[in-house]
């Protein structure tokens, strides 16, 4: 025992991964109460986003700054179904919270996802605030097919390779839930009541093909 660096533990046991990555991911996320739509093109992804917005009767939404969401033309796509993208107050913490609290839908991009458990991974940065996936009652995450990783072991080296990991790395598997009262499951206790993933099979445009 002491302050000298110990010899690290040898590698742990490998876990079985005889499952299909995409099927396993969908099964896990769906089992946790999340909903997944597949989109074959960015146009299709836009249509799905419009459908979700209609289904949850969203009038106002917040989004991350992300090239992928720009490619989807999220603002225009949502404006077409009467949903306004709000701009979040920059300096006032309480106003920022209140504004996001009143928004119906938060739209993010999952940079990674773990098939093993059906989990999406959100990384915080200046254009990607944490609360967009948390305060609105509906969260929609766009997940490019190539972001799917089999297990947690495949993810961690990617986080550590950036030196210090992002200030917040959030693993999300389905909506916010509790079973604190008589062990009855209730969704949306603090975070979103519903989480949708748009699984983008290809980020190319169907017209460009």
């Amino acid at each position: 025992m002491g302050f000298a660096p110990p010899t690290p533990l040898p590698a742990g046991p490998a876990i079985r991964r005889d499952w299909d990555i995409e099927a396993r991911f969908i099964e896990g996320f769906t089992r946790a109460g999340g909903v997944i739509y597949r989109a074959g093109s960015i146009e299709e992804a836009g249509k799905i986003l419009q459908e979700i917005a209609r289904e949850v009767r969203a009038a106002r939404a917040a989004r991350w700054a992300s090239p992928l969401l720009d490619l989807l033309q999220v603002d225009a796509v949502l404006a077409a179904v009467g949903v306004n993208i709000v701009s979040l107050p920059a300096d006032d913490r309480e106003l920022y919270g209140k504004e996001l609290d009143s928004v119906h839908m938060g739209i993010t991009e999952a940079e990674h996802a773990i098939a093993e458990t059906g989990t999406i991974v959100l990384l915080a940065d200046p254009g990607r605030p944490r609360a967009v996936s948390l305060l609105p009652r509906v969260h929609v995450a766009v997940l490019p097919r190539e972001a799917l990783l089999p297990t947690f072991e495949d993810l961690f080296p990617r986080l550590a390779s950036r030196g210090i990991p992002p200030s917040a790395v959030t693993f999300i598997t389905g909506p916010s839930r509790t079973a604190d009262i008589e062990m009855t499951p209730v969704m949306g206790v603090h975070g979103p009541q519903a989480v949708y993933i748009i699984l983008l099979e290809s980020s190319s445009s169907s017209q460009a093909r």
């Binding site: 110990p6 876990i15 944490r130 389905g174 839930r177 062990m183 009855t184 206790v189």
Partner: protein, 468 residues
């Protein structure tokens, strides 16, 4: 810290009479057990994972000074502040000081057993800080001035009717009957508090030394809110919670939710590294990590008991324990209950106060089978029983005399055989169908909290002879 004596036997007698509690506990624990069985069953390498998790914990504990120093360095490198607290009192002062310097009036908390351990809320309230528990179960407990009765579902002992009445009285809620309505109402109330709080307080399930990251595992999303909205985030963590690398989390993520709630994974896991970075819109401006000893280094130096520090507080040993299932957590008199609580509470609070707890077990060993880090709880309980007896506790003079006589007679094979025959004859002659026999004093005392198993017609020795 309270030094009041834990009266497990007395308290459990009252709790056994509480019919609503009995129903809630059976229902809750059996549900947890079946959920756990299902998700553990789908992992063929479960045993290898348990072994690995244990290796990680033991390796870290063996090199704890190194990993804690590394953790401190990396948290600082990420812009966080690390505080070392020798005991609960130091930790409380540190946290109140952070609050005062930050001009904090209202703090919001997510569930943390460590903050329960140091009785933080009462101290902050006395210091003029309004503290709100935001985990739904903990919020209900706080409203009713009650304590958690389970690691994972702290409010398992309360019915929805009681909670409805509590919300009406304390929060002016309308008549709400269903868990869903009650939850919605609490969400509204707590949202307001989240938006107003200047300080967020959390525990930590793990901390990664390599990156200076704390890890919070949860389902509700309240810990995410606590670490996202307030200006200051304080995480309070026992020093045994550190793991070396991010990769180690992969194993912990596989064992913890499965063992705790029977989920493959929880809804949320947050990896927090330092305060928010330049330009980020949310997340705290200040991040503080309070590393709490409070007796842990003493346990680490205890050659018989240090294994207890491997515990990841999943609650699996509570859910499987036949004693816990009948008494619930309140009988144990402190924050840690069930088999692990019975073993470690006397280490933290002293044998004088909690010497009765190691006896609150049938030593059936079911807890050892389910523990995801393979803590030998039966061994730990026996060690603590021995220490309690050595300290003159736990065993009356009559019991001592009884066992001395038993030892004397059964030392010889003849004595054993004769006593066995006599005993079986005597017990059969007073046996009643379907129930444990009643015996005269002094045996009645022994059976006050125990059942005698039904006796077979023939002793094993006789059957063995026939088989041979």
């Amino acid at each position: 810290m309270s030094t009041a004596r834990v009266d497990f036997l007395g308290r459990s007698k009252e709790l056994l009479q509480d019919q609503a509690l009995q129903i809630a506990l059976r229902r809750g624990m059996s549900r947890f057990r079946s959920l756990r069985r299902e998700v553990v069953g789908e992992v063929p390498e479960w045993e290898a994972l348990r072994t690995r998790a244990r290796e990680i914990k033991i390796h870290t504990l063996k090199h704890l000074p190194y990993y804690l120093r590394l953790l401190e360095e990396r948290v600082q490198a990420a812009g966080g502040v690390v505080h070392w607290a020798q005991d609960g009192s130091e930790a409380r002062e540190i946290i109140l000081d952070i609050a005062r310097r930050g001009g904090v009036q209202a703090a919001i908390k997510s569930k943390s057993m460590t903050t329960e351990e140091i009785e933080l809320n009462a101290f902050l309230e006395a210091g003029g800080i309004r503290v709100t528990e935001s985990d739904l179960g903990e919020f209900i407990l706080q409203l009713s001035g009650d304590h958690p009765s389970h690691f994972v579902v702290p409010v398992v002992h309360k019915s929805k009717e009681e909670i409805g009445a509590l919300f009406r009285e304390e929060l002016g809620a309308p008549e709400l009957r269903e868990p869903e309505q009650l939850t919605r109402f609490a969400r509204q109330v707590l949202r307001e508090r989240f938006l107003a709080a200047e300080m967020g307080i959390t525990g930590a399930n793990f901390a990664v030394a390599q990156t200076g990251t704390i890890v919070i595992v949860e389902n509700e999303g309240n810990a995410r809110l606590v670490t996202t909205l307030p200006r200051i985030h304080v995480a309070v963590m026992g020093i045994e919670k550190v793991v070396p690398t991010l990769e180690d989390l992969a194993v912990m993520f596989r064992i913890l939710p499965r063992s705790a709630t029977g989920q493959r994974i929880t809804s949320y896991i947050s990896l927090i590294t330092g305060p928010k970075r330049l330009g980020e819109r949310d997340g705290p401006e200040e991040f503080h990590l309070v590393l709490l000893d409070n007796g842990r280094t003493r346990i680490l130096a205890d050659p018989e008991m240090w294994e207890a520090l491997c515990c990841i507080r999943c609650g699996a040993c509570l859910n499987i324990c036949p004693v816990f299932e009948r008494t619930g957590g309140h009988a144990y008199g402190w924050v840690y209950s069930g088999p692990i609580g019975a073993a470690i509470t006397p280490l933290y609070r002293g044998l004088e106060a909690a010497g009765e707890l190691p006896f609150a077990s049938s030593l059936c060993g079911a807890c050892v089978e389910v523990c995801p880090v393979k803590i030998d709880l039966v061994r730990l309980l026996l060690v603590m029983r021995r220490r309690a007896v050595d300290a003159g506790q736990g065993v009356g003079s009559l019991e001592r005399l009884g066992f001395a006589l038993w030892g004397l007679v059964t030392r010889s094979p003849l004595g054993y055989r004769v006593l066995g025959r006599l005993g079986r004859f005597a017990l059969r002659s007073i046996a009643q169908p379907e129930r444990s026999p009643r015996l005269p004093f002094p045996f009645s005392q022994w059976l006050e909290s125990r059942d005698l198993p039904p006796l077979p017609k023939r002793a094993f020795r006789e059957r063995w002879r026939r088989l041979g």
